[in-house]
Amino acid sequence: MKKNTIMIIEDNESVRENLVTLLSEEGFETVSAVNGEAALNLLNLKLPDLIICDVLMPKINGFEFYSLILGNEKTASIPFLFLTAKADKDAIKKAESLGSAKYMTKPFKIDDLLETINGALQTDCN
């Protein structure tokens, strides 16, 4: 069975590394980017099955990045998961308003994360 590919966009090296380690161990292909710009370049090479993206990032922030993803027909339908340290209501509202994206607040529990990911992938297949 083909492995699902998950793109991880996270500027904090430590968190990014943990995500990559976890998802690889859980049987996903991973591609990771340190910021939105690098992620856009990666998207030209390969389309992932799901994108996990930090919100507060230098250069293009997570919301801007998601706008660009939605703007491109190739990528618009990729399930998108915000990881945000912004636990405030505004950020959550914003994430919800932008489309079908899911969000999780940092710090997160691994089980919750995996459940959300699998759920999103499941929905996508259906």
């Binding site: 943990n18 976890l22 710009e37 706008s67 939605l70 027909e73 912004k86 710090p107 691994i110």
Partner: protein, 1057 residues
């Protein structure tokens, strides 16, 4: 003569006096003679005395004066009686009679004659008795004996005999026996002398009858002498003609006579006669005119050719023409002709125009000669005249043709050269020839120079040289023509030429013709390539071709056509079969378009949708043309079909995607703008227009900066270009903009550079209006300021009251405390705190996320992971916790400072000791690339300051200096004291702080745009700032991006209580 008696036993002796050549000649004498030689008269006289020669031969030119020598010899008694022969040059002015020599002979002489003469003399001398009447003999043969004795020593006539020794001389007796004969006669007649002396005339002239010869002899006897010619056949068979002269001497009854070979003379004579008659005929019949005129121009004689040439009927008619008066020719004056003729004697090859009788003109070529009398007076002119009109015309025709040919050759697209085959010398080379070969004008002189100049590559040159030679030598004309010879020009360019060599061996000429075929050759190559690739291209491009025979509606399809239409390959198709593939609407269009093309000759280029037999929908593009017969009737319709399904689908998808993009773009609440490399706005959305207060039409196509107030506009466009080229985009900032209408707005701007393809990037700028937010901040700030002013004002009042009411100090203090407390409470209130908390929360959550996820990973994969991997994550947890703790410290410090809880407790502090400890801690952030310079010029041991605050300030500044110099460089730390204040300077050579960021530098959590890659919380400098303020100090900095930053801190000593 002496020695007569001993003559038979003794050899005859000859004494020569002469130079070497004569001595050599002396060796030619038969061996029966004894030869002596002498070089001078004295030697000769001595030799004459001692050896008694029989004869002396003197070369007149030798040994000084031959005549004087001769005289000396004759004057000596020893040699007086020896006969002397003097050999003289023919042209020497010698008076023979005065010479005392016995005989004088003239040089050159033939040896045979000389020898014969000498022998004769000796013989006569030696046998003086044999011819008793020797005197008479000599006399009659033309020899005169000077002294009169029988020795025949006199010179005169004898000398003549010897002189003419080329002629034969003979003596014949009355019976016809040869009495004597000289060598010349013998050799002439073909006998030896000994033989001759035993023969009769009749034996010699055997072809003549004896009676005839005897008759002739009798004739001569009666007439005394005769001279006649007769033919003679020599013994060797050679026929000659001889002239014989004979004189009868009745005294001794002998014939004396000469025989001369006149064969050559006769031949010459008859040739002369022949030539004369030939000349006559030439004169009469020649086509060349011959004339003779008097010097004054009267025509004395003219041959028929000249008469005719000049158009006259007879010589008489022509003679009436006076050349002096009418002249021969207009262009060459008679005077000039005469002068030249008389001064030079002749004129050769004069070309001129002459008038004919009827006034027409002819071109002639004239040779003339003047004949003069002895006094040098010109008697007449003779000349020949040749009509060269035809040649002249031909010549001019040739010149014209040559000019034409040259012009053609110079303008023709072919180059032309001619060379000698034998020498390789180039005789002619056209400028086009040189031009085509790309060599300098006049650089080709020989075949060798051609190879040198044209083929610059030595190896290729040798190949071409060998090939050229072998091809020409083969004589095979097909090998004289070469196509597409590659020529490398001096400029480095390449050419192809076709060359042809035409050898004309009998004229030793080689004609070379060359043509520049570069373009043609390249076209050919391209054509071949394109033909080859056409089939492939059709396949790749999914292009099929078809032809419709309009009469039978039969279709001819290419392979690809079957594939496109989805029909089985190769099955014959009718128009109806094809039409089945078109849905009704499409079929209607198809029929319309085809009938339009046929009826109205309109362009046929259409796109259709077809449904293949298997149900698959394809899109095709059709292009065709109608072929017509000579009457204009359409006979065929043919064209190509391309499968454009892929393109169609792409187009549809693109359109869809564009639509989606548009909706995102336009519905966005943020202003969005695209700009190109020059900062020209290419696209904006509605939100942007609203934000900046412009219509879309006024923005697109204009520099983006047009929205700004002029001053800012100029600056921003400059900065834009600089950032565009240096990849300075992809940033986020908040700034106050002054719009073109003067309105000030705060925008949060996020820029991203989006590269579609190399060197073609656009900048996407997203604008958000944060004016309200900023206004709130500002209002809050103002509010705080007002409060502070109020505090100050009230404090002042209180102080005044304090002075006024000394007794109420206690009370006042209470008031003051209450007031201060309440004011600070108010100060802490507000959104500022919210923002701080929000930022702090983010900064805390990140390390917490790392910790939590690490812990969970460890738990989850505890059994699976090896020890070292787990160790890595434990380490990570510890690091994150360390980070959290330091962050917490910073936040607390800051929070305390903000809330005024940061205590200021100065004490006497050993600054240098404190710095020593601090530098030790700093070592951890210092890298090998850094150099560090520390200089302290403190004057005292201790200063009254708050050590904790100062330490926090210096630690942050020094850590930053190293941290923000990732490439290394020098960090300087200078400590000083001035006017009772401590001064600290920290300078680095690091990345610096961009100008726009500088004003936010001390804001909590603010991080400069160029520090993305360097970890930090954005709190350090806020803490420094606050700490310095608490200390009543001042902090200042100067920074240039890319060059480094300098921070200066001045801390006054605290006031002792």
């Amino acid at each position: 003569m002496m020695g007569v008696n001993s003559a038979q036993t003794k050899k005859n002796k000859i004494l020569f006096i002469g130079d070497n050549s004569e001595l050599i000649f002396a060796n030619a004498f038969p061996s029966e003679y004894e030869i002596f030689t002498a070089a001078s008269a004295d030697a000769a006289v001595e030799l004459a005395r001692t050896h008694s020669p029989d004869i002396i031969l003197i070369d007149l030119a030798a040994a000084g004066n031959g005549i004087e020598l001769c005289r000396q010899i004759k004057s000596k008694p020893q040699s007086l009686n020896i006969p002397v022969i003097l050999a003289a040059d023919k042209d020497s002015e010698l008076n023979f009679s005065e010479a005392s020599a016995d005989v004088v002979i003239l040089k050159p002489f033939n040896s045979a004659g000389l020898i014969a003469g000498l022998i004769e003399m000796l013989r006569v001398g030696n046998s003086s008795g044999e011819y008793k009447s020797g005197e008479g003999f000599l006399s009659e043969t033309g020899l005169t004996n000077k002294s009169g004795n029988t020795l025949g020593a006199g010179s005169g006539r004898l000398s003549r005999v010897l002189m003419t020794a080329m002629d034969g001389f003979w003596i014949v007796d009355e019976n016809g026996f040869i009495a004597d004969v000289n060598e010349a006669a013998c050799s002439m007649l073909g006998y030896k002398r000994g033989e001759m002396l035993n023969l009769k005339i009749t034996d010699i002239f055997a072809e003549k009858s004896e009676s005839k010869i005897h008759g002739k002899m009798a004739e001569i006897i009666s007439a005394g002498s005769d001279k006649f010619e007769t033919r003679h056949t020599r013994r060797d068979g050679c026929k000659i003609i001889v002239e014989i002269s004979l004189t009868w001497h009745p005294e001794d009854r002998l014939f004396y006579g000469f025989i001369r070979d006149i064969t050559e003379a006769k031949k010459t004579q008859s040739a002369l006669v022949e030539s004369e008659s030939r000349f006559r005929s030439l004169y009469e019949n020649s086509s060349i005119g011959i004339y003779r005129t008097t010097p004054d121009g009267r025509i004395v004689m003219a041959n028929p050719a000249l008469v005719k040439m000049l158009g006259f009927d007879s010589l008489e008619e022509l003679s009436r023409r006076n050349l002096e008066e009418v002249g021969f020719e207009p262009a060459y004056s008679r005077k000039k002709f005469r002068e030249k003729l008389e001064s030079e004697g002749e004129i050769k090859g004069l070309e001129a125009v002459w008038h004919r009788a009827d006034g027409t003109e002819i071109y002639v070529r004239e040779n003339a000669k003047v004949f003069k009398d002895e006094s040098g007076t010109a008697l007449y002119y003779e000349g020949t005249v040749e009509d060269i009109s035809h040649r002249k015309e031909t010549e001019q025709e040739i010149i014209r043709k040559n000019q034409l040919i040259t012009a053609i050759l110079e303008h023709a697209p072919i180059g032309f050269a001619v060379n000698r085959i034998s020498t390789g010398k180039i005789e002619y080379v056209g400028s086009r020839f040189e031009e085509i070969y790309g060599v300098p004008r006049h650089s080709l002189h020989s075949v060798e120079s051609f190879f040198e100049e044209v083929y610059t590559d030595p190896e290729f040159r040798e190949i071409m040289r060998e090939r050229t030679i072998s091809d020409i030598m083969s004589g095979d004309t097909s090998r004289m023509h070469w196509d597409n010879i590659p020529i490398t020009l001096r400029s480095g360019g390449k050419k192809f030429v076709s060359a042809m060599n035409i050898p004309v061996f009998d004229q030793d000429l080689m004609v070379s013709v060359v043509r520049d075929v570069t373009e043609q050759h390249l076209n050919e190559i391209a054509l071949l390539e394109s033909e080859k690739s056409l089939r492939e291209a059709q396949r790749i491009a999914s292009v099929g071709s078809w032809e419709n025979d309009l009469a039978g509606n039969a279709l001819v399809w290419s392979d690809e056509m079957y594939r496109i239409m989805g029909l089985p390959h190769g099955v014959p198709v009718k128009l109806a079969d094809a039409e089945k593939l078109f849905p009704p609407e499409e079929l209607k269009r198809l029929r319309n378009a085809i009938s339009n093309a046929i009826l109205h000759n309109s362009v046929y280029s259409e796109d259709y949708k077809i449904i293949r037999p298997d149900g698959e929908i394809r899109f095709i593009h059709d292009e065709g043309e109608v072929l017509r017969d000579e009457n204009g009737k359409a006979v065929k319709f043919r064209g190509i079909t391309q499968d454009i399904t892929g393109r169609k689908i792409t187009e549809e998808i693109l359109a869809e995607s564009e639509l989606r993009f548009r909706s995102v773009w336009e519905s966005s609440k943020d202003g969005m703008r695209l700009t190109d490399k020059d900062g020209i706005t290419t696209m904006v959305n509605e939100a942007y227009c609203r934000l900046v207060g412009f219509h879309k039409e006024d923005l697109v196509g204009q520099p983006f900066s047009a929205i700004y107030f002029p001053e800012q506009s100029r600056k921003s466009i400059e900065s834009y270009r600089e950032r565009y080229t240096n990849n300075g985009f992809d940033d986020y900032y908040e700034r106050e903009f002054i719009l073109q209408n003067g309105v000030k707005k705060w925008f949060a701007v996020s820029n991203s550079k989006i590269e579609f393809e190399k060197d073609n990037a656009v900048i996407l700028s997203i604008f958000r209006d944060i004016s309200d937010q900023k206004l709130t901040e500002k209002v809050l700030g103002q509010y705080r300021e007002e409060l502070e002013q109020l505090v100050e004002a009230r404090t002042l009042e209180l102080k005044k009251a304090n002075i006024r009411l000394i007794g109420e100090i206690q009370k006042k203090n209470e008031y003051e405390l209450i007031l201060k407390h309440s004011l600070e409470k108010e100060k802490e209130a507000g959104d500022l705190k919210d923002k701080f908390i929000s930022n702090t929360s983010h900064e805390f959550r990140t390390p917490l996320t790392a910790i939590l996820s690490s812990v969970e990973l460890l738990r989850r994969f505890d059994e699976k992971w090896p020890r070292d991997k787990k160790e890595y994550f434990f380490e990570k947890i510890i690091n994150s916790i360390d980070h959290l703790i330091s962050l917490l410290d910073e936040v607390l410090t800051l929070s305390r400072a903000d809330s005024g809880k940061l205590n200021f407790s100065p004490a006497d502090t050993d600054i240098e000791k404190m710095i020593g400890n601090l530098l030790h801690e700093i070592e951890a952030v210092k890298k090998p690339e850094h150099t560090f310079e520390y200089n302290s010029q403190l004057k005292r041991g201790t200063y009254f300051i708050d050590e904790k605050l100062l330490r926090s300030v210096l630690t942050n500044l020094l850590t930053n200096a190293f941290k923000y110099s990732p490439a290394g460089g020098k960090v300087r730390f200078i400590v000083n004291e001035k006017n009772g204040s401590l001064q600290f300077m920290v300078a680095d050579e690091g990345i610096g702080i961009p100008e726009p960021d500088q004003k936010f530098l001390f804001e909590p959590f603010f991080r400069s745009s160029n520090t993305i890659d360097i970890q930090g919380s954005g709190l350090g400098l806020s803490i420094v700032y606050k700490a310095v303020n608490i200390h009543n100090g001042k902090i200042d900095f100067h920074s240039e991006p890319g060059r480094g930053s300098v921070f200066t801190v001045i801390i006054p000593e605290g006031e002792r209580a």
